[in-house]
């Protein structure tokens, strides 16, 4: 038995690992921002609520949050699927469904923030 790890593989695991952390930092910042807004100037009516997301800063910040959230979810859910779903066909099918759902959510979030 070789006592070393064979230097093969696609290496995208490291990218996923790093992106999971970078996206987490983005979401921490957005969560603190939204908690601050909820504490100091909570939107009480429809025009406040709509006005909140009509400014380009918060709209872009929200879009960045959703991109980070969906990438983060992809890494995390893929980890869970790889850990527990052993049959290859079922595992790949579930991963494809999760990926499709996340791309759908991405398009949906763009349409919510800009499509009106």
């Amino acid at each position: 038995m070789a006592a070393f790890k064979l230097p093969v593989g696609a290496h995208y695991g490291l990218t996923a690992w790093l992106m999971q952390r970078l996206t987490a930092v983005v979401m921490v910042a957005y969560t603190l921002l939204m908690a601050g807004i909820a504490l100091w100037c909570p939107p009480g009516n429809y025009s406040d609520w709509k006005g909140l997301f009509s400014g380009s800063f918060l709209r872009l910040a929200t879009m960045l949050f959703f991109v980070a959230l969906l990438y983060h979810a992809w890494v995390g859910v893929r980890d869970i699927i790889m850990d527990y779903i052993k049959p290859t066909g079922l595992r790949l099918t579930l991963q494809a469904l999760v990926g499709t759902a996340l791309v759908f959510y991405l398009v949906w979030s763009v349409s919510i923030l800009w499509g009106r």
Binding site: A24, V25, Y46, F53, G76, V77, W108, S109, I112, R116
Partner: protein, 128 residues
């Protein structure tokens, strides 16, 4: 005479009730993450679409979210998010080799549960 280097059997007690705090933080981080993927993400997107789309939708969902049973469900998801949030920050700090000693990592694991519960209670106090 048995050799001194004999491998002794290792026993890991994986029963949830007997896990150390760090293990509980870990498994709840995974479970909360799964529930945040489904149903929290599509529910969040649907709520944003419905409340930003029209004033009627906003007022409808404001009324729904004022119902006590809905508040309890909402607080459940807030707890899932808060736990995932604080546990995630703990992992980021551990990645930076901050607080990786046995005592400090145990203390931070307990702190994650305390902060998650406090954040949830603070919001409960705010919405009631």
């Amino acid at each position: 005479m048995k050799p001194a280097t004999q491998q002794r059997p290792k026993y890991y007690d994986l029963n949830l009730a007997n896990l150390p705090a760090a293990g509980l933080v870990s498994i709840f981080h995974r479970i909360s993450g799964a529930f945040l993927f489904v149903p929290a993400i599509p529910a969040l997107l649907y709520l944003m679409q419905a409340t930003l789309g029209s004033e009627a939708g906003f007022l409808h969902w404001k009324g729904v979210l004022a119902m006590p049973v809905v508040k309890v469900i909402l607080l459940g998801f807030v707890w899932l998010y808060a736990h995932h949030f604080f546990a995630g920050i703990r992992y980021l700090l551990l990645d930076l080799h901050w607080g990786i000693g046995k005592d400090s990592s145990r203390a931070s694991a307990r702190l994650v549960f305390v902060l998650g519960a406090l954040a949830t209670l603070a919001l409960a106090w705010r919405i009631w």
